[in-house]
């Protein structure tokens, strides 16, 4: 390998990339457990599909838009690496192979659109969602990643700190969720029907995998197995623990119970908030960010009932709000440039500019994209599809069949049919139970 290469760093980034990859299934379970039994699979698929779509777009043009040298204006990378052109196993980025770096960053590009899906639970047409994912990463994520992380990006040059993606990932996804849900509207029965999570153990599994994978996300963002990675790792753990406590404390006071959904949600809120800050603050700063994020997000998820927008699984309340908290609190707790370090308001101001710029861009473009899709191919499922469940409507499946031994509640189409080439019709919608 060329000079400057380090096997320890490479091992660390590759394994971190694997951990970040696992976050997308983790997110799928986190979200999937929260929906009703009739739309579990759709929820899982909205995350999983991103592993397919974004991987291909990343190779085609995503990597070069995000991490190609800046074209000059700080807005986009040039197209030198179109189709991963010119990159081989021995091309380095810092002390690691470019392919390790590109794989690591790809995992971020995959999970970001998946995060959005929580805002649209139970009611999005799956084909429209696939189109939205493809367009959104292309027009929103790839450029924003360039702004924030590429050394020529305008937000990076401004001096905004976003170590692992509070702005580029969480504010971005959270506001995109808001933009899209404003187009789709409320679920049938919002504020009226109970819509309790169909499997909280699945939610806990998701949050456990997210927490685990997030060490790759945050510590891996050091792009080397060094002291910064150590700090980022430690801060991630303590902030997340503190956020879980913060959320549970809020719930205990407000509703009289420590819920498991609160524990899982608090952990995720903490992970979100510490993401931009994990390498910038000291241990107590991390705990502070955690507690604040936990309690504030616990409050913020209630806003949808008061303001009347149906952010089904609280993408705004957790990711936009949590990402904001982390991004802005860097201005407060940064070990060198923060208010508490006596460095004044300058960093806080920069953080605010970065955060609000990305928020505004993402909200606007996401709304336009969603509206465009809705006006053309239609974004929202029909009421019949929604009431009888979009797992049946778009995936022709049912999540569970616990029916007892031996018998069954179904009959096979003559399986010979399965071998013929004529496409067999899926349930005509009019015949579906509503």
């Amino acid at each position: 390998m060329p000079k400057g290469f380090d096997a320890g760093d490479t091992a660390f980034v590759l394994i971190s990339a694997a951990l970040v990859m696992l976050m997308t299934p983790g997110l799928a379970f986190f979200y999937g457990g929260m929906v009703r039994v009739k739309s579990v699979l759709n929820m899982l698929m909205m995350s999983f599909i991103s592993l397919g779509i974004v991987s291909i777009l990343w190779v085609a043009y995503g990597y070069t838009i995000a991490f190609g040298d800046d074209t000059g204006a700080g807005l986009l990378g040039n197209l030198d690496f179109l189709g991963m052109k010119g990159i081989t196993g021995t091309t380095l980025s810092g002390s690691i192979p470019v392919f390790a770096f590109a794989a690591f960053q790809l995992m971020f590009a995959i999970i970001t659109p998946a995060l959005i899906s929580g805002a649209l639970a139970d009611r999005a047409k799956f084909s429209a969602w696939m189109l939205f994912t493809a367009l959104w990463v292309s027009i929103v994520y790839f450029p924003v990643a360039h702004w924030v992380w590429q050394s020529g990006g305008w937000i990076f040059k401004l001096g905004v700190k976003d170590f692992a993606g509070g702005t580029a990932v969480h504010i971005n996804a959270g506001m995109a969720g808001l933009g899209a849900l404003l187009v789709l509207g409320k679920r049938v029965g919002f504020k009226k029907d109970p819509m309790r999570p169909h499997s909280l153990p699945l939610v806990m599994l998701g949050s456990g995998l997210l927490w685990f994978g997030w060490f790759g996300f945050n510590a891996g963002s050091a792009l080397a197995a060094n002291g910064t990675a150590g700090v980022a790792f430690f801060n991630t753990q303590v902030a997340t623990g503190a956020a879980m406590i913060g959320w549970l404390a809020y719930e205990r006071v407000k509703h009289g119970a420590f819920t498991s959904l609160g524990a899982a949600s608090g952990a995720v809120a903490g992970l979100v908030a510490i993401t931009p800050a994990c390498a910038a603050v000291n241990t107590w700063g991390a705990i502070g960010i955690g507690v604040i994020a936990g309690a504030v997000c616990a409050w913020a998820v209630g806003l949808k009932y008061r303001l009347g927008y149906d952010d089904s699984l609280d993408v705004v309340g957790v990711h936009a709000v949590g990402g904001m908290i982390g991004t802005l609190l860097i201005g407060v707790f940064d070990a060198t440039d923060g208010l508490t370090a006596g460095a004044g308001f300058s960093q806080l101001g920069k953080q605010a500019v970065g955060a609000f710029a990305v928020a505004a861009y993402s909200l606007t473009v996401s709304w336009i994209l969603a509206k465009g899709i809705d006006l053309t191919i239609g974004f929202r499922a029909t009421e019949d599809e929604e009431v009888s469940g979009i797992d049946q409507a778009f995936h022709a499946e049912t999540a569970y069949d616990f029916a007892s031994v031996g018998g069954s509640v179904a009959r096979t189409a003559p399986p010979a049919a399965a071998g013929t080439t004529a496409p067999a019709p899926v349930a005509k919608k009019s015949e579906v139970d509503a």
Binding site: D193, A396, R411, A417, D433, A434
Partner: protein
């Protein structure tokens, strides 16, 4: 007394419960069920095998009532459960000879 049984669409349950409450009936028993009838069901696909799932989720409600209330109650249930689409379900009544409240041992109308 009569036992009125209603097999209805699951998402009508809340409205039926409310309607019964207004009617003055304060207790009922619910079981999950599946129905087979004019309403067709749907097709599922698993690795190329297509299944016709011809049983559709239903909810089965049982209400014990005094004889005189039975007809009124049936009307109330039918009205609250109706969507007008195929598969709305059935309501039927059978005669009951004895009814007992377990907690107190009361019998007959007092048990309801």
């Amino acid at each position: 007394m009569k036992l009125v049984t209603a097999v209805i669409k699951p998402h009508r349950l809340d409205d039926v419960k409310e309607a019964l409450q207004s009617f003055g009936v304060h207790g009922l028993t619910v079981t999950e069920a599946s129905g087979y009838g004019r309403q067709r069901g749907h097709t599922e696909v698993y690795r190329g095998a297509e299944y016709t799932v011809d049983l559709v989720p239903k909810v089965r409600i049982e209400v014990l009532v005094e004889d005189d209330d039975a007809d009124g109650l049936i009307d109330v249930v039918v009205k609250a459960a109706r969507t007008g689409k195929i598969g709305d379900g059935k309501v039927w009544a059978v005669p009951v000879e004895t009814a007992v409240r377990v907690r107190t041992g009361e019998r007959g109308p007092d048990a309801l």
